[in-house]
Structures are given as structure tokens and as C-alpha cells.
């Protein structure tokens, strides 16, 4: 079955430090991969997505993610974290149906804390 694993329930980084959030997926075909961010009291917002092509994907707010097929991973990175990045981050995989459409399956999330 398709699944997404985010091994870290929460991570704390200092403002200005680099960040890497881990994501592993289980899916039999070429995956469609996503990272979403959810701030308190707000809806989910798409940070970036990978469908094909270059395995290093750039997103909004200075985030990037790298797809590594051999490791079934899609880790999210940011070189310098800002206090406003404190939020919950969700990795997700698009599960393709035989009609060509797909639904999105989410991981359990990683809560990011940023300390001054």
C-alpha cells in the first residue's frame, strides 16, 4: 500500500540555521511528491512538488527538496530558517488511478520549532 513516513515528529532549529526535514515514501510506480506547510489556524499551503525531470525542486519561501529514487526519499531543505517558518510540515505522495487522476496521501507531519 502507498504510504508516507516522516520520521521526525518535531524538530527544533535556531533561527538562521539550516533545516532538513525527512520524508520517505512507499509507492510502486514513479511518484508524484509534495511538501505542504500548515501554520496554526490556517489551511495547508503547497510549498513545492515533484512530478518528473530535475530531481532538485525549488519551492516558495526559499525551500527546496530533492527526490532520491534509490532511497525512496524526498527531503525538504532550507539553508537559513526564519522564525516565521515555525509550522507543521507535511510530505505527501500522489497515488495514480487507472483513469489518470490521482489522490494525495499525507504523512503524519513534522512540527518545526524555531528558537531565537
Amino acid at each position: 500500500a502507498q504510504s508516507v513516513t516522516q520520521p521526525d515528529i518535531h524538530i527544533t532549529v535556531s533561527e538562521g540555521a539550516s533545516l532538513e526535514l525527512r520524508c520517505n515514501y512507499s509507492y510502486g510506480a514513479t511518484p508524484y511528491l509534495f511538501w505542504y506547510v500548515q501554520s496554526p489556524g490556517q489551511g495547508l499551503q503547497l510549498l513545492l512538488k515533484y512530478f518528473s525531470g530535475d530531481t532538485l525542486v525549488q519551492g516558495i519561501k526559499g525551500f527546496e527538496a530533492e527526490f532520491k529514487r534509490s532511497q525512496s526519499s524526498f527531503n525538504l531543505r532550507k539553508p537559513s530558517v526564519h522564525w516565521s517558518d515555525a509550522a507543521e510540515y507535511f510530505c505527501a505522495v500522489g497515488v495514480l488511478r487507472n483513469t489518470g487522476g490521482f489522490k494525495t496521501i499525507f504523512g503524519a507531519g513534522t512540527r518545526l520549532f524555531v528558537k531565537a
Binding site: 489551511g43 507535511f90 487522476g101 494525495t104 499525507f106
Partner: protein
């Protein structure tokens, strides 16, 4: 509309009652998704529509849950005989199609069953 709109934003109901949650997607979006998010968890897929039909309802937990989208726009998630375990945030999302377009989420309907 400008974004995905969900009503009510908060609902408290008694165990055993019937509840309806409404989602108004972005205008022109043909795909509409329902998710449930419990505290400390990621969104759990329930059902999605492409147009008026339910393309995939494999995530509905049991037959107390039902969703409709009769005209291919607004959708209603219906929960019968609510249980305390149904308490969660119910998220709706829409996208232009179900073929990889960006999915936009509403802010959710917080359901509390007491």
C-alpha cells in the same frame, strides 16, 4: 470564489446526531477532495470527486459517512449517528482537475462530538 470555503468553521454536536459539512470549491475547479485531520496527525484521505461523481471513496471509514456533489461544484459531507471518535478537522480541497494540478485547501470545519 477567491478560495475554498468551508462552513461551518466550528460545529459542536451531541453523540448520535446528524451533521452536514459544506465545501464551496474554487470556481472552475472540477476536482474536489475531503480529508479528515485528527490532532497531531496528517490529513487522512476520505473521498474525492471529479465533476459530479465520486472518483474514489475508499477512505470513508464506514457507512455513516457519505458525500455528494450534485452539480459538480458545492459538496456536502454527511455524517450520521455521530460518535466521539468523529471529532476532527474536516478539510476540503479543490484543484482544476485531478491530473496533477495544485490542490488548494480550505481552512477546515472543526467538528466536536460531545
Amino acid at each position: 470564489g477567491a478560495g475554498v470555503s468551508q462552513t461551518p468553521s466550528n460545529k459542536v454536536t451531541e453523540k448520535g446526531k446528524y451533521v452536514e459539512l459544506r465545501c464551496d470549491p474554487i470556481s472552475g475547479h472540477t476536482a474536489l477532495y475531503w480529508y479528515r485531520q485528527s490532532l497531531g496527525q496528517g490529513p487522512e484521505f476520505l473521498i474525492y470527486f471529479q465533476g459530479t461523481g465520486a472518483a474514489d471513496d475508499s477512505g470513508l471509514p464506514n457507512d455513516r459517512f457519505f458525500a455528494v456533489r450534485p452539480e459538480g461544484s458545492v459538496s456536502t459531507l454527511k455524517i450520521q449517528r455521530t460518535e466521539r471518535g468523529d471529532s476532527a478537522v474536516y478539510l476540503c480541497a479543490s484543484s482544476l482537475t485531478d491530473r496533477g494540478n495544485t490542490i488548494y485547501f480550505g481552512e477546515g470545519s472543526w467538528l466536536t462530538v460531545v
